[in-house]
């Protein structure tokens, strides 16, 4: 066990799975980087933010395939390779680029199994960066996990830490369904203790990162860290929070969410994605339908406004959920009192 960054944890998961299974291949823009360049370097980048660095060196050009900048053809190729015997891990780089290849994900990979009467397996992983906080503005900052969650046939994973990233990516690669694996780009340098050996974290099992009696907070990806920090601050004020990291939005561990809400009677959902039809609305609907009578206060959502992600730091900070906003939402839900109407 040693301290590893989010980036290193993902790299290690890929390396260990590629060593274990020769059918695991990587493809994407610059996943090696440098092919055809004047420096004649074949492992120059390892992806635009260096996540796959060194894998070309170990596994060579038959396992680590640089692609042209043509998302539709290579994401489609990854889907085609997955149904014909390989286990491709395709890097879509920024998830925002899914607009270029959504058909191959939404109409092809996600539907093969169902449309073909259960006779197809599509062991495909698509890794992509998501999230604001990098001043990357509207076309490089979106958190599109609700878009994928909406589509039956896809599994959607949002790791919240280096430890989680390694174990969840290993599960993703071993899974026989198409998996969208979303990495928050702001988290790549976050470090924590990560085991050197291989381990798999199952999908659909939420992780309780804090336990408390007063309020349940459900948070995704990078928001889990913020929710934990808010919970620590609130604990000092005597407010106990349970923080749930669902890990995967599809499948979603509804049971754990409902149980925790039944215990605390209050719910705050923290979701970095655009607020209409996102995970927060989905979970709010779930709890309203299944556990209305356990609620002691209205459900609160800490979400961005319904706007593209802005560029300027001051605006981007206003846009994103924050520890302070989560703390305020929890405090508000604690202070809620039913007033009898005359």
């Amino acid at each position: 066990m040693s301290k590893k960054s989010f980036r290193q944890a993902i790299n290690e998961a890929l390396r260990q799975e590629m060593r274990r299974d020769p059918t695991v291949i990587l493809m994407g823009e610059d996943v090696a980087g440098g092919r055809g360049g004047s420096a004649n370097t074949q492992d120059a980048w390892g992806g635009v933010l260096g996540v796959t660095k060194g894998l070309y060196e170990e596994f060579g050009e038959t396992r680590v395939l640089d692609t042209p900048i043509t998302e539709a053809s290579y994401i489609g190729a990854a889907a085609g390779a997955a149904v014909t015997g390989l286990r491709p891990v395709a890097e879509l780089m920024f998830v925002d680029f899914v607009g270029c290849c959504l058909d191959q994900i939404m109409n092809q990979a996600a539907k093969f199994r169902y449309m073909f009467g259960g006779k197809a397996r599509t062991p495909l992983v698509i890794r992509a960066m998501y999230g604001a906080g990098f001043n990357a503005a509207a076309q490089h900052s979106q958190a599109l996990y609700p878009l994928f969650t909406h589509i039956p046939g896809l599994k959607v994973v949002i790791p919240s830490s280096p430890y989680e990233a390694k174990g969840l990516l290993i599960s993703a690669i071993r899974d026989d369904d198409p998996v969208i694996f979303l990495e928050n780009k702001v988290m790549y340098d976050v470090e924590e203790e990560v085991p050197d050996e291989s381990y798999a974290i199952p999908f659909g099992e939420a992780n309780l990162t804090r336990e408390g009696d007063d309020v349940t907070i459900v948070a995704f990806g990078r928001m889990v860290g913020m929710a934990n920090e808010a919970a620590d601050r609130l604990a000092k004020k005597g407010i106990g929070c349970t923080v749930i990291d669902p890990r995967t939005t599809s499948p979603l561990d509804s049971e754990t969410i409902l149980e925790c809400v039944a215990d605390t009677g209050r719910l705050v959902i923290v979701d970095e994605s655009s607020p209409r039809c996102n995970m927060a609305t989905d979970i709010a609907a779930l709890v309203a339908e299944e556990a209305f009578d356990t609620l002691r206060a209205p459900i609160r959502r800490v979400v961005p406004p319904h706007t593209p992600v802005p560029f300027a730091t001051v605006l981007e900070t206003l846009y994103l959920p924050s520890v302070e906003k989560i703390e305020a939402a929890v405090t508000a839900t604690m202070n809620y009192r039913v007033t009898e109407k005359v």
Binding site: K111, G117, R121
Partner: protein, 321 residues
């Protein structure tokens, strides 16, 4: 080029099966019993069969909206296809796919496709699997002149060349993308497109089984030998509308009649093999009779087969959830 007698007879039977399957569907669809959309391949049989006669179960194809012919040519069971089109639980996709999504991975049929241009990227992936697993297989993308304008197709030509994939891109050019003419919609030529991606190009007359078989044989051998991708441009004629119910108001009077009279691949095949003394008419008549029985039985069976159950609605969304 010498083609084995057995191959010729099998090919004739496949072409006849496609023809009768489709003409029967044309009639059955009009009765209103078949749900959804049906896109017929009639008139184009020699293309699917001429290409697939050069393939084995180890090779992969991806198809189009107009997929019945490719399915039959690649060996998908006719009864299972008919049941699928009727939406029965016995269908090859258990009634979940319908006409536009018939697939059978066991015989290398990666699916008809409801999305124009959906297949070529998938074929790059299948070709990558063949190359990586070193199983000697090739992957063939059938797509129409309409799909030849999709970005996915052009990207796939590039990717296949960059990766030197064992892929064959078969443009089935019937001159119409739905109701719009290729002469309007396709800029330049398919030949120039292939050249633009550094890819060899062959073209052939799609009503001539022998021409297709030879051209496809050359193309497939090229890909199988590890020489990279290649484009095969097949000129052919569509006898029915884009979909069933299409009155084809965009086609000149007599166009289809002329296609049937002068470019019927089955008629041409029969003339060729009987004149060459390869087969007696009676042998081919026997095939026709057997196919007639097979299609009749498939339709009756499909109509009689059970519908999917409510539990099937939620089955097979995922392998594991």
């Amino acid at each position: 080029m010498q083609i084995a007698r057995e191959t010729l007879l099998r090919s004739y039977r496949a072409m006849r099966t496609i023809r009768m399957f489709e003409e029967r569907l044309h009639v059955e669809f009009a009765t209103g019993e078949i749900p959804g959309f049906v896109h017929l391949y009639c008139g184009e049989e020699a293309s699917a069969v001429g290409v697939c006669a050069n393939l084995t179960d180890n090779d992969t194809i991806a198809s189009t909206h107009r997929g019945h012919g490719h399915c039959i040519a690649k060996g998908v069971e006719v009864a299972g296809m008919m049941a699928e089109i009727y939406g029965r639980s016995t269908g090859v996709c258990r009634g979940k796919g319908g006409s536009m999504h018939i697939a059978d991975l066991a015989c290398g049929m990666l699916g008809a496709n409801g999305i124009v241009g959906g297949g070529p990227p998938l074929i790059c992936g299948a070709a990558l699997s063949h190359k990586t697993l070193r199983d000697g297989g090739v992957a063939v993308a059938f797509y129409g002149d309409g799909a030849s304008n999709e970005g996915t197709t052009l990207e796939s030509l590039n990717l296949a060349s960059v990766w030197q994939l064992p892929a064959v891109f078969v443009v089935e050019d019937n001159g119409y993308g739905e109701a719009t003419g290729a002469s309007f919609a396709c800029a330049g030529t398919q030949k120039a497109r292939a050249a633009g991606f550094g890819m060899p190009y062959i073209e052939c007359d799609g009503s001539d089984y022998f021409a297709v078989h030879e051209a496809a044989g050359e193309a497939i051998a090229h890909a199988r030998a590890g020489k990279g991708p290649i484009m095969l441009h097949v000129h052919l004629q569509r006898w029915y509308g884009h979909f069933e119910g299409d009155a084809m108001t965009y086609r000149a009077p007599g166009e289809v009649a002329e296609a049937k009279r002068d470019h019927d691949c089955l008629k041409l095949f029969r003339e060729r093999v009987t004149q060459a003394g390869l087969f007696e008419d009676s042998v081919l008549d026997e095939v026709d009779a057997a196919v007639t029985d097979e299609i009749e039985a498939a339709v009756l069976q499909a109509k009689d087969d059970p519908l999917p159950q409510s539990a099937d609605l939620l089955a097979d969304v995922y392998v594991r959830y």
